[in-house]
């Protein structure tokens, strides 16, 4: 019997793009308040808080789309549920994050469990349309919630305290709270993908039948991933409601779901940190273009088509091509 050569030990990815880029991104986010001191600080902090909040939802969506091949077009529903948890609790005088965050998590996880159990019975186009339809269901339900503002949404009295401390009231400390959540979300998702669970989940994208024949219940793995991704959406919604101190059905409109998918695609699928870059690119592009003209969507729409047609792999893919093109 011939001894098989020992598989070449893969060097740890610590010094590859996989390891360095997220570090650079997080360092840049952490240093931003120092740099922003020279500009319109409150505006810049609010803008980048928004970027990081969307990035949390986008990372989770990348988990589904990029690693699981599950194109969810209703991710904004989870964000909306998280936001409404804050809004509704605050309307009843409960404004501590230690209550609001778990409620947001449980609400979005339960919604993910209930709808995921139906959505994941289907594939491909059906999955896209059904996730979209369920998010519309939440949207219309929120619009008809007359006691909580209905179409108009409701104002959150004040930002959540955390265990009684007003940690999130100041713009800068709120910024760092959001950054903490972003780093934690990224690390959790990264760990999930590297785990045995993640390998089964990724394998199901490549060949569900083969993974199933190895004895794994693909449906169950995908459902758990769907619930986890939804919970991250709930966290993002919790932070969004605190950032804007306002909750409205528009948070879960299908356009918002579309925007999250755009962020993931713009950044580059299946990288996690690409989703952060995509969120930044999207929010900054929106901010810049809408400053140019009120009809900015007439520029952004065609831009989107061009990105899909010509810039495959998003920002991360483009950067990869550039670095490879160098001699």
């Amino acid at each position: 019997m011939v001894a098989l050569p020992a598989p070449a030990v893969q060097p740890r990815l610590r010094w590859s793009a996989e390891g360095i880029v997220p570090l650079v991104i997080f360092a840049a986010f952490a240093a931003l308040p120092l740099a922003a001191a020279f500009g319109a600080k409150a505006y810049i902090l609010a803008l980048f808080s928004r970027i990081m909040i969307f990035a949390i939802a986008a990372i989770a969506l990348d988990l589904l789309i990029g690693y699981g091949g599950l194109i969810s077009f209703g991710h904004a529903a989870f964000v909306g549920l998280g936001a409404y948890a804050v809004g509704i609790l605050s309307a009843h005088g409960i404004s501590d994050g230690l209550i609001a965050l778990p409620v947001a998590l449980v609400a979005s996880a339960l919604f993910g469990l209930a709808t995921g159990a139906v959505c994941l019975r289907t594939r491909g186009v059906y999955f896209i349309m059904i996730t979209l339809a369920f998010s519309q269901m939440v949207f219309f339900t929120a619009s008809s919630l007359a006691p909580y503002g209905g179409d108009d949404g409701l104002t959150v009295q004040s930002r959540n305290t955390i265990a009684g401390f007003a940690l999130m009231r100041d713009e800068q400390s709120f910024y760092y709270v959001v950054l903490g959540f972003l780093v934690a979300s990224y690390l959790l998702c990264r760990a999930l993908i590297g785990s045995r669970f993640g390998r089964v989940f990724r394998g199901a994208r490549e060949n569900a039948a083969r993974v199933a024949s190895m004895g794994y219940d693909v449906f169950r793995y995908q459902l758990v991933a769907y619930v986890i991704a939804g919970s991250f959406g709930g966290v993002s919604g919790f932070l969004l409601a605190n950032a804007t101190e306002f909750v409205s059905p528009a948070y879960m409109s299908w356009q918002r779901s579309g925007e999250l998918v755009i962020m993931v695609l713009m950044g580059g699928l299946g990288t996690l940190y690409g989703a952060i870059l995509g969120a930044a690119a999207f929010v900054l592009a929106e901010e810049w273009l809408s400053g140019l003209t009120e009809h900015w969507k007439m520029i952004f729409g065609p831009l989107l088509i061009l990105i899909v047609l010509f810039a495959r792999g998003g920002l991360v893919g483009a950067a990869g091509r550039l670095s490879r093109a160098k001699p």
Partner: protein
Amino acid sequence: MSLSLLLVQILNGLQLGVILFLIAAGLTLVFGVMDFVNLAHGVQYMLGAYLAVMFYGLTDNFALALILALASALVLGLLLEFAVFRHLYDRDHLDQVIATLGVILFVNQGVKFLWGAAPLSLPIPEILSGSVVLMPGLLYPVWRLVIILAGLAVAALLFVLVTYTRVGMLVRAGATNAPMVSALGVNIRRLFMVVFGFGTMLAGFAGVMVAPILSVEPGMGDSILILAFVVIVIGGIGSIRGAFLGALLIGLVDTLGRSFSVDLLRLFLDPSSARTVGPALASMLIYLLMAVVLFMRPAGLFPAKGR
């Protein structure tokens, strides 16, 4: 809840159903034949309505405005197909979704740019305005009956086309197994052009028909598109019969649910909570219906054979 009120709401439900069918029919065939997710299909509905308003303003003649609107909706649709959609057929669904979302953003904003954000309206043609007495004490607007009849006529026409003509046979074959049809020497791209153009006209027609009773505004196509998705999912992708029955079902359930949910809930709840829960429940109803159907039949009620 009187009998005449019930009858009126059933007719309203049918009317919503046939409009949904006109949109879902084109959508389901495009999915079926080319496996192409076109989120921008609702845009054609909106364009139909806007073009009808514009041509009515120019010609002051509804019939002429209808014909001109359909023709130009077709031209715009084929233009979009040529400029954008054609390059997406070989891509995965994600790319298709995002690119057609880009088309929606552009056209919605373009409409706002050209005609303004304020809702427009189209008058009902003189002869068809007014109401008819259906039962003693029950008046119903003629125009809504016209919509129902026109929708049913289109459905019948489509049924004949798909069942008895050569093109219809190819469309059915394409929905069942497109690569095989292509391998047998049929130019599937050209077949698709025909299907796409036809679907575009149907959606435009739906837009023209509802323009007199709904407000014509940017984004009007988006919400109805999602309803059309629900219809297709329930009916089964690629199936005209499924689209027709699914559309009527959704139209009726949605309309009746909205009109009677509060009254029905009052049987179990006190009036004030019935007024709160009723509308929320009514707006969830069709999605719950969809969930139940999918739970029982993941491929829809009437899937195209062989998929």
